[in-house]
Amino acid sequence: MKNKKNGLTLFQSYRLYSGGGFLSSFLVFAIGEILVYLFCVSLELGLDSCFDGHSTADVLHDLSSNLSQRGNSDPTQWIFATTLSTSILLQQFDRSNPGGKFFRTVKGGFSTYRKYRFVVNMIILVSAVICATVAFLLDYFGIIGLKGGIVSSIACVTSVVYSTSVYCIAIRIKNKVFSSVTSILTVVICSGIFGSLPLRGTEVMIPFIILLAIGLVLFPISMRSYFSYYKRVFWD
């Protein structure tokens, strides 16, 4: 345990705000996103079979043989669902909301909030990376096909990174309704853009990696700007 005089640790800050442990939240995100991936896959395949009016045994047989050849389907759906995890950033701690004043008077004040938000962002990012890696590995070992292969995985992570950064900027919109609407639209837009690009084939891999790199540089910059704006306008 860090010396209490120096403020709270990252994990303590997270626990304070969320009311629950870091590990359980992280596992929920990571495993949840993997399950979402599998769900998206089976949804498509299951539907295909069902529409043909086959029996259950036939459906299962089609499922297992189609799985490894999924290469023809669209990863946008999965990327959208994963990017949706960034919507947790919508949670605000205004003074007028229950808990708002409590958090402002707790040890560390705003710096504890920063640590909490940082942990949340890391959970979102790392879960997305894990999920994307799992999807890529499943494709690599021929278990479940992934259209676009590694590019789709990179697209997924890129979509999450950009979506988070846009959230950080969206709070600057004065009108609360516009701000929330924009925040939700970023999920759609990011996943739409980054989800559809892999369909163009493997020649987009290098540009994609560049896009991701830019995103990763923008990420801490937008977070810093978010914190300074948030402190000035919402916290104080």
């Binding site: 709270l8 626990r15 009311g19 229950p98 409590f102 008077t105 707790v106 040890k107």
Partner: protein, 293 residues
Amino acid sequence: MNKAVDIVGLKKEYKDFTMDVTATVPKGFATALIGANGAGKTTLIDSLCGVNAVSSGTAVFFEKDSIDNSERLERIGYCSSGNFFPLNWKLKTIAECMAIGFDGFDRERFDTLCTEWGLGSSKDKKQKSLMKMSDGNRVRAALAAVFARETDLLVLDEPASPLDPLARDRLCDMFRSYLLEKDGERSILFSTHNIADMESVTDYAIFMADGKVIEQGFVEDLKNKYVLVHTDAGDSEKAKPLLLTYTSSDTGLEGLALSENSSVLEAVGAILERPTLQQLSVGVLRKAENNEK
């Protein structure tokens, strides 16, 4: 007088409202912040406890010219009005988060208080979330959390408002025990718009209207400074010029005056009485309202 908080020109500006306060919270006593809704009580309390940033002015705590922010957060036991904690929290969550957020939090004491007040314990197997509790119980849970901390100054925003009379009486007892425990070292500042119920524990009163302090002082001194005046209908006109504020009816007048005018008032046939803090508050606040018009 030793001061727990010395507030000088503390200003907070909003679009249509400015708070500008100079006041004292004496050490070792319970101070009531009295005023109508919108008078600025919550703004003042929040500004003192770091919930709001101020535009200018100073607040000196515990007679220390400069105090570290973390020390201030640790030594002051703040509890807002309304919902202090997130509504999806349970007693267990409150206990765990309070322990993280404050060094001096005593979980055993928290559980004892919660059990005493009929909320259960943070160690119970099945716990209700705050959302499912009544307003009164939510406030009790928040107060239990604050009282379970080791503090030198309690700053409570409308702690009695959602409580029933018996609970208010218990709260007054808790205030007295708190002050007694470190005889003279601890202080309380609480706001209320219902002073009648908290009168028996109030030592010092600060009256606010429209963001400013309109009167303050030790209760016994204020009760000596002002006098409650009753006159018959016939003597009303003679008494009126000396009254700060009054209400009239067919039977006569009742109003508040400075007690230095006592002999003159008695000479015109008025009967005088020492006011209760409630009566004093009504008079002082009504006068402020009249001044505004």
